[in-house]
């Protein structure tokens, strides 16, 4: 894990010149601070009233202050104090914050209640005012400074870490560890805290800047390290009186604080990207298509409407020798072919089953038919037509016209397909409003009608997704898909997440809708039992190629390709059929 993170960190840094410059400056600063006695022979506290307020010169690189002390030397020694205090404070804050957060999140119940109440009370005080009060009560000095800062900073961490812990505690591997008899302290450290290391690192990096500022602020107010010992915040304070005649007195410590805080925040972002595994480059996937849409006027005057059932027309979906490859040179899979010479045709009123296991390219094919092929993938050969029109030249706007209107998608997970904070009726209505701008009465009529079509009670309109069962949610998603009476419906594993009884009802519903409205249905699944229930024809794919195709009945009666036979043999339920046959 650490190797991958380190690699991503390096890649992120390499692409970011500002980051490299900041890193170089910070490394140089820390080196200089550590090697202060070697760099400057002058004393940070030695006064010399003959040399008061000298501007920068060959001996005093950053001038001198009102006691004749060398500002550059004080800056170096002051950095030791400032950065040590901030570093120690981060360690203390993190230790308390992580411990309290993880314990509260994992154990829950009374433990959680007590700890969150303490956190809430501490968070209710203004952070800096509380720190000032604590520091003032304990008197000045480095240790009280660290304590004052830590006391006010940990509750915020604890609360964030508690939130993350609540999530991780629900993960399967934490449950598994409990079943394996792993002791609680090991689960807390090795499973939970270790998986929180990303957020913890990011929080630490982002907050070290705040802590340096807090240290400086308290020192500025005279509550930090007592004079004459140097400290950046205290130096700012001392320089304030002579700011107009000797600006270097405030500029030097001010810039030092600025650079360190800026660098800490900047690295915080790079670290977050490398830990969370986001792509390190920008959102180039989205840059290209809207631009394309903007430069090309929409070629489709109007999206093809759903045809009448017995209208003879071009096939709804027609793919000829389609090849899709990884065309992005930066991708580690550059040159890999995801689809290889795939042809597929779905005519109106027909239901086609696309069978394939993981990695067969079936979802890539479904994405292609919705115009959702994205870099690093691209269509490199062949053509894909919708309703007789070649989609090769379609702009983003053309696709927007068609998607949700003439083509609709139902996918595997109804819970993620529905917005959890919107009522089901509003979500179905939104699809209609996007394309048709109906009157309020027409919208409500159609909503009631579509709920009847998918056998959902009308009260569902006012309900939220979490109030519905899995099967009802999938029916709501189907209602969203068919509300505009599309001509082509693509169903990508729509029943995989459901139990058998719900599964069969959803299949029959889809089949019924397909029959009644003359829909072209492309049904994608890995399960032959499911496919056989809905599809007139099947296409079997493996590794991006079509293995076999034919009428459903014929394929199941006598498959010729060995892979198809293997799939048929793998279907569970053989013994069940034997038992039931014997009983009859």
């Amino acid at each position: 894990m650490s190797d991958r993170v380190l690699h991503r960190f390096k890649v992120g840094l390499r692409r970011d010149p500002v980051g490299i410059v900041l890193l170089a400056i910070v490394v140089a600063m820390i080196d200089a601070i550590l090697a202060a006695p070697l760099i400057s022979a002058l004393s940070p506290v030695g006064t010399d009233f003959k040399q008061v307020l000298l501007p920068p010169n060959a001996v005093n690189w950053l001038g001198t202050d009102d006691f004749g002390r060398d500002v550059f030397t004080r800056l170096l020694y002051g950095g030791r104090t400032s950065l040590t205090v901030a570093g120690v404070a981060v360690l203390i804050v993190m230790s308390i914050g992580v411990t309290v957060g993880v314990v509260a999140g994992y154990f829950g119940g009374v433990v959680d209640l007590v700890l969150t109440k303490i956190i809430d009370v501490l968070l209710a005080f203004p952070r800096l005012v509380l720190a000032i009060a604590v520091a003032a009560l304990m008197g000045g000095g480095m240790v009280p400074l660290i304590i004052a800062i830590s006391v006010v900073a940990w509750p915020a961490y604890a609360r964030i870490i508690r939130g993350f812990t609540l999530q991780v505690t629900q993960e399967g591997y934490v449950l598994a560890a409990r079943c394996l008899g792993t002791p609680t302290w090991k689960i807390l450290t090795r499973h939970i805290a270790l998986n929180l290391i990303g957020p913890i690192l990011v929080l630490a990096m982002l907050d070290i800047g705040n802590l340096i500022l807090a240290v400086s602020a308290l020192s500025f107010l005279g509550l930090g390290v007592p004079p004459p010992a140097p400290e950046w915040g205290a130096m700012l304070n001392e320089g304030r009186n002579n700011m107009e005649i000797a600006p270097w007195l405030v500029l030097a410590p001010g810039l030092a604080i600025f650079v360190v805080v800026l660098a800490a925040n900047y690295f915080g972002d790079i670290v977050r990207d490398s830990v969370e595994g986001r792509p390190v480059h920008g959102p180039r996937n989205w840059l290209r298509l809207p631009l394309l849409g903007a430069t090309q006027p929409s070629r489709l005057a109007a999206a093809p409407a759903a045809p009448h059932k017995d209208e003879v027309a071009a096939p709804a979906l027609d793919m000829q020798d389609v090849c899709i490859e990884v065309t992005d040179r930066r991708s580690p899979y550059f040159g890999r072919r995801i689809l290889n010479n795939v042809s597929l045709r779905v005519t109106r009123g027909e239901s086609v089953g696309l069978i394939g296991e993981s990695g067969s390219g079936k979802s890539t094919l479904a994405a292609l038919s919705l115009g959702l092929t994205r870099p690093p993938l691209a269509l490199t050969a062949g053509s894909a037509s919708l309703f007789g029109e070649d989609t090769a030249g379609w702009s983003w706007d053309d696709w927007q016209h068609v998607r949700g209107r003439s083509i609709a998608l139902v996918n595997q997970d109804p819970l993620s397909a529905l917005n959890p904070v919107l009522r089901v009726g509003d979500q179905i209505g939104e699809v209609m409003q996007t394309h048709l701008a109906p009157s309020r009465a027409a919208l409500e009529d159609r909503l009631r009608e579509v709920l009847d079509e998918v056998d959902l009670p009308r009260r569902v309109m006012r309900q939220f997704p979490h109030e519905l069962s899995g099967g009802m949610r999938q029916r709501a998603v189907i209602a969203m898909a068919i509300v505009n009476r599309p001509a082509l419906l693509i169903a990508d594993e729509p029943t995989t997440a459901l139990d058998v009884s719900t599964q069969i009802r959803i299949l029959d519903l889809l089949r019924g809708l397909q029959d009644r409205y003359g829909l072209a249905l492309l049904f994608v699944s890995h399960d032959l039992r499911v496919i056989s229930r809905v599809a007139d024809r099947v296409v079997i794919m493996r590794g991006g190629e079509v293995m076999e195709r034919g009428l459903t009945k014929e394929i199941f009666a006598g498959a010729t390709h060995p892979y198809t036979r293997e799939l048929i043999a793998a279907m569970p339920g053989r013994r069940m059929r034997l038992i039931q046959a014997a009983a009859e």
Binding site: G172, C179, T182, L528, P572, G573
Partner: protein, 250 residues
């Protein structure tokens, strides 16, 4: 004596009665299927047995002793293990297969090290038909089927008498499912391990199990030998469930 015995198990979440006086048992070397639709309380039963949740009423006996006793619970922790539905989330993504399989071994055989430990890891992978080359891979470098095999290997590590399999096949492709069913049956034949298989799919139950417990809304509505329940279901709910099983095409 029945190895695992569940007696009068009831569980309520606030106003919602999840389980009502559930009772069944799993004997030595027996494969029992617990069948029901989503929301029937199957997974809650598994969690109660595994000690992840506490039942309100009822007892769970492990070799005749109640699991509410601390010492019994400790023994049972080793004697029964679980495999869950989603193999990817069941494996800590930051760990290698070696670390994943070592976790239970560190708990039960903390002194074992070096060559002996390595041999044991290789043997575990061999039992689930995976190559020992995978030891240094992370879960994201494995297929979902391989991940589920690693989960099974991890569950086998403490040499349990009972595996609780909570929808272990649902996330897998059909051909991967078939190979895993083969594997589970093989393991049962060679080591006599018992399974409590939780699923909604009668077809899978019929392929693997010897006995069935049918659960509807937290109530056990029918139990019996697989052949009897499948050929002559007595309860209306079982009959309805059986009607909903997708027929084999062809």
């Amino acid at each position: 004596m029945t190895m695992l015995l569940v007696e009068g198990l009831s569980k309520r979440y606030r106003d919602h009665q999840v389980l009502t006086e559930v009772a069944f048992g799993v004997g030595r070397s027996e494969i029992v299927g617990l069948v029901g639709q989503s929301g029937s309380g199957k997974s809650t039963i598994a969690k109660c047995i595994l000690g992840l949740e506490r039942p309100h009423v009822g007892r769970i006996l492990w070799h005749g002793e109640s699991l509410s006793e601390r010492t019994v619970r400790r023994r049972a922790r080793r004697g029964m293990q679980a495999v869950f539905q989603d193999p990817r989330s069941s494996l800590n993504p930051r760990w290698t297969v070696r670390q994943l399989l070592s976790e239970p071994l560190d708990n039960w055989l903390p002194a074992e090290r070096g060559v002996i430990r390595l041999a044991r890891l290789a043997r575990l992978l061999d039992r689930v038909a995976l190559s020992a080359d995978l030891l240094d891979r992370h879960p994201h470098e494995l297929s979902t089927g391989q991940c589920q095999r690693v989960c099974i290997a991890r569950a086998l590590a403490p040499e349990p008498d009972l595996l609780i399999l909570d929808e272990p096949l649902s996330a897998l492709d059909v051909s991967v499912q078939a190979r895993l069913i083969e594997l589970l049956l093989d393991l049962h034949r060679t080591s006599g391990i018992s399974y409590l298989l939780i699923t909604h799919d009668f077809a899978v139950v019929a392929d693997i199990c010897q006995r069935i417990v049918v659960l509807d809304k937290g109530n056990v509505v029918e139990t019996g030998k697989v052949d009897d329940v499948l050929s002559r279901p007595t309860h209306a709910y079982t009959q309805a469930l059986l009607r909903d099983v997708l027929p084999m095409p062809g």
